[in-house]
Amino acid sequence: MSWVPPLLVAIPLLSAAVVAGLDHMTPEPIQDGLVVAASTATTVLAFLLLWHAESHEVVHWFGGWQPRHGVALGIAFAVGPVAAGMCVVIGIVVTLALVYSLTFMGEASRPFDALMLLALGAMCGFAMSGDLFNLFVWLELMAVAAYALTGFQVEQLGPVQGAVNFAITNSIGGYLFAVGIALLYARTGTLNLAQIGRSLAHGPAGGIVIVAMTLLLCGFMIKGAVVPFHLWAADAYAVAPAPVCAVLGGVMTDIGLIGVARLYWTVFDAPFGHSHAVGDVLLWLGIVTALLAGTMSFLQRHLKRMLAYSVVCHIGIMLAGIGLLDSSGLAGAELMFLAHALLTAGLFFVAGIVHVDHAMIDELHLHGRARGCWVPALAWFGGTIGLVGTPYVGIYLGHAAIDDGATELGRPWVLALLWLGSALAGAALLRAGARIFLGWGDAEDPLLGEAMEEEPLDRNVLRPLLVAVAAVAVAAGIAVSVVPGLGQRAEYAAERFRDRAGYTARVLGDRAMAPPESLPVTIRHTTLESLIYGGSATILAVALALVGLHRRRLPRVVGAAAARTLAPPIHVLRSLHSGVVGDYVTWVVVGTAVVGGVWAALLHG
C-alpha cells in the first residue's frame, strides 16, 4: 500500500499543472471535469489509505531510501489513521468547494482551479509528511496558494489588505519555523521526525531545544490562527471568495493545529513529556482563543468575518483538546476537525449564496431580505446548531470527548469555559440567521459597528447546485456525531498518534505493529455533564441571540448599565484588531517571546 501516499500529492499537483498549462486550449467542460475528477480521485484514494492505515503504519520512502540499522537516510511519508483521516476530510471539503465554484467563480475559474488543486496537494503532503523540512515545504506551498486565492478578486481594496496581512503574517510564521528547523537539525543531525524524537530522548534537552520548540510550535499556531496570532484570519476570510473561505476556514487553518500535535507527539514529548508545561500553555492559549474569538464573532455584522471568528473560536477548543495531552482530548480534536470542517464549509457556502442573491453580505442591510429561502435558511441554522454542539449534533461528540479528557485530568472548569466559547460564536450566527432569513429584530444595532463596503457579485450561477453543495456539507457535518463507531476509531487513532515509541519503531522499521483489536460499531457514550453542558450552551446561544436581536426591548436601566460597562472593553477589543499588518507582526513577536519565556521558565529550571 505504500504507493498510495505519493499519489495523494502527485494527482492534484500534476492536474494543477495540466489545468494551468492547457488554459484557453481545451473547452471549459473538459477542464471542469478534469479538476473535479482529480479532486474526487484524491479523496477516494485517501479513503483507501485510511482503510489500510488503521491496521498498520503506511510508510513510503522516496526513491527507495529505506532506513538502515534504524537510521533514517531518506525522506518519508508516514501515514497513520489521523493523517489519512485528515486527507479524507481535506479531499471532501476541496471537492465540494470545487463543485461549488464551477459556476460561482465565473470567468476566472481556470487559474482558480489550478490554485485550489495546488492547495489540495500541499495539504495532503503536509498531513502525511514524516520529515521536518518537508513539513515546512508543504506549509509554504499551501500558504502561497492560499495567499493567491485570497487576493483572487482584486477589484477592491479589501481583498488586497486581506491577502497582504495574511501573506506577511504567515510568511513570518514560516521563517520562525525555518529557524526552528535549523536549531533542531543542529542539535540532532537529522530531519526525520521519528529520528529526532529518538535522538532527543537521550540526554538533557537544553535551552536550544526549548527555543526550537517555541519557534516551531508558534510557527504552526500562526498558521492555525491561535490568539494572539489570529489577527490575520478575519481580514483574509472576510474578503476571500466563498469557496476559498470554505477551504481556508474548514481545513487549512485547522491543519496548523494538527501540526502542533504531530510535532509534540513525535518530537517534543521525548524531552518534555515528564512535565505538563507544554500542554498547559497550549490549553490556556486554546481557552483564551475560544473566549476572545467567540466574543469578537458576536460583535460582527459582516457574515464572512463573523464566520472567520467562529472558526478561530473552534480552533481554540481544538487546541485546548490537544493541550490536555491525553487520548480523549486528542480524539475530541480529531472529531471536531471533521465536523467543524464540513459545517464551516457549508456555512461559507450559504454566505456565498446570500451574497450572489442580494449583492451584499452585511447582517443589518440584509435584514429580512432572504425570507422564504428555505433550503439556505435550513442549512444555515443546521450548521449553526451543529457548531454550538447541541447534544448529538455536529461537533458535540468531539466536544464531549474533550470534556472527558478534562474531567479525567481533574480540570472540570475547562468544560465550562470551552462551552461558553462555542455558545458565544453560535449566538452570533443564530442572530445573523434570524435577522436575514426570518426578519427578526431591529434593522439597526450600533453595537455591531459600521458596514464594510462590499462588491456585488454579478455572476450567472447555477443556484440549485450551490444550494445542493451547501446542504450536503451541512448535513454531513451534522451527522458526524451519530455515526456509529466513529468515536471509538478516533480514540484508537489518537492512542496510536500519541505512542511515540511505537511510531518511531514503525517508521524506522525496527518492528511491525500488532494489528488492532476490532473496534465496536456503536455511538460513543457521552457523560451526563457533557449532555448538560451541550444543552446549556444551546440555550445560552439562543438566549444571547435573542438579546442581540431585541436589545432595545430590554428595560432601559439594564440596557444603559450594560452599555456603560461593556462599551470600554469592546472598544479595546475592536481597536486591537486594527487591520494594520505592523501591529499583527508586533503581536506575533510578543506572543512568541511570551510563550517561549514561559516554557523556558517552566522547563529549564
Binding site: 515545504v137 488586497v160 497582504v164 510568511s171 535549523a182 537539525y185 464594510m452
Partner: protein, 114 residues
Amino acid sequence: MSYLPYAVAAWICLVGLAGVATSRNLIHLAICLMVTQSSSYILLLSVGYVEHGKAPIFKGTKLGTTAVDPVVQALTLTDIVVSVAVIALILALALDAHRLSGTVDPDGIADISG
C-alpha cells in the same frame, strides 16, 4: 566554532522583524521580510559548516575526507525558492494596492478592522 554566526543570525532576524513591524511602505516591508528570512540562511550555513571542510563533492575523493554538511545547502536553496514565490506575490499585491488606492502604506490600505 564561535558563537558569532548565531549572534549575527539572531540580530538580522530581529532587525528584519522590527522593520516589518514599523514599515510604512509595502515594498520596503517586502525587503524587510527578505532580511528576516536571510537570518535563517546564515543559521543553516553556520550549522553545517565544518572547520577545514571541503565542498561535499565526493567523486574522486578519498574516503574519510572532511566535508561540510550538504543537507543544509539543500535546505537553504529550498528556503530561497520558497521566499522568492512569497516576495513575488507580496510585490504583486503592492502593485494592486497602489492601483486601487494610490498608496503602498499598510496603514493606508487598512480598509477593514474591528
